[in-house]
């Protein structure tokens, strides 16, 4: 363990200023959407105050990914046609893209790779939930989208310690993220959780980011959501989406598959549909 590196990471994650941000208007809108006491009308008004946000939302409402067929030309129509949950997803796609859509040097990810993986994991997670548990489809979409956000901050330190991390993986037979913690004192899931705290995201999303590599340790009330994202993440790296220097040095565990309610055949089917998922997200890249 490098005490100095641990200390530096600690000072970053305890200093809110140094963690990535999302636009204030985005957090405000998402909080309003999740507050049952706030009316449609007030949410529409809040969005309309921000010209860029309005344009972006309308653009995504009419993309093949989110569109319900009819052309949407106003925020009021968007909320009525797609529903608030979809608008929440759209706002997060807009807010998270600048954070995730960049090269992540230490993990050897080119510009766009981490963002693509987020979109793929989000889409697969949503597809699983639509089959097994519709009520959580939007939450797992959101969680899938940002599950890897901690890598953005930790990458710099992984770059300096990569060989040691990989040697630890090989010598001790532990996964890459376990070795991150061993060598740097933190893994990217813990850093991701801190980022979500800064963004005031709800506990279930924090659980997804914190436990997606170890769903068995997630709080009971979030185990299913975390498990679904674990499966979606595993399928994405196996297909080479968002696979970086950490490779497939991770675990694809039975607990998650069981808790997501998936059979071996269903897993293989989800994997074989990867080209369809990639086609679906093309417009959002």
């Amino acid at each position: 363990m490098h005490a100095q590196i641990k200390q530096r990471i600690e000072s970053i994650i305890t200093n809110i200023e140094q963690l990535p941000s999302i636009p204030e208007v985005a957090s405000k809108i998402m909080n309003m959407i999740n507050d049952p006491d706030v009316s449609f009308k007030r949410i529409a008004e809040e969005i309309s105050k921000d010209q860029a946000m309005t344009t972006n939302i309308l653009k995504l409402c009419n993309s093949a990914f989110f569109s319900k067929g009819k052309e949407i030309t106003s925020i009021d129509r968007a909320i009525v046609t797609l529903g608030l949950k979809e608008i929440n997803d759209i706002v997060l796609v807009i807010a998270a893209k600048p954070v995730l859509d960049k090269a992540i040097i230490g993990y050897d990810l080119g510009k766009g790779d981490l963002w693509k993986q987020g979109l793929v994991a989000a889409t697969i997670s949503k597809n699983i939930a639509m089959k097994k548990n519709k009520g959580i489809a939007d939450i797992v979409f959101t969680g899938g989208l940002i599950h890897n956000v901690g890598k953005v901050v930790l990458a710099l330190y992984v770059q300096n310690t990569f060989n040691e991390i990989l040697n630890t993986v090989k010598e001790r037979g532990i996964t890459f993220n376990e070795a991150e913690k061993e060598i740097m004192g933190f893994n990217h899931q813990e850093v991701g959780e801190k980022i979500l705290s800064k963004w005031n995201f709800p506990p279930v999303l924090k659980s997804i980011v914190r436990y997606y590599h170890e769903p068995q340790n997630a709080p009971d009330e979030h185990k299913v959501e975390v498990s679904i994202v674990h499966v979606a993440h595993s399928l994405s790296i196996m297909a080479g989406i968002g696979v970086g220097s950490d490779g497939l040095y991770h675990e694809f565990n039975d607990f998650a598959v069981k808790s997501a309610g998936l059979s071996g055949e269903e897993l293989e089917e989800l994997f074989s549909k990867m080209p369809n998922v990639l086609k679906q997200i093309r417009e959002l890249l």
Binding site: S245, L248, F252
Partner: protein
Amino acid sequence: MDKSLINVGVAQLKIGKKPTTLRTILGSCIGICIYDRMNKIGGMAHILLPSDTTGGIIPEKYADTAIPLLVNSLIKNGAKKEYLSAKIAGGASMFKFGANVSLGQIGERNIAETKKTLEKLDIPILVEDTGGSAGRVINFFLEDGRLKVRAAGKEKIYYKI
């Protein structure tokens, strides 16, 4: 952006000639790179699964259908069967996977089916950079058929054609 660089996505197949470079990123998938050393044309298939069990719509997705398709497109574009050779990369497995997650070792099945199909077509495999748990970024340079493999932060270049 380098115009001669072409990305080959999951379940896609691309062919080209000098100065084109074909590039892809692999986990458990296999990148099958076939080159005609005399005519200097080549192609890459990025397969996801060993074989089709559903009477599939996308032949590029499976080793047993994508490889013959790749060979035929190369021949149609001027390659000669007797000058063809293959380099294969990818087929990684998850480092750990549960007893019920047989998909975790799909990489191994992909490697086996790829080799079987190439053997059936009588195309020699000159390079195998497969297995393990590393992801791979591969670049296949059609000017001379060399293959660059970047895995776990390190690069290797295979020149044999």
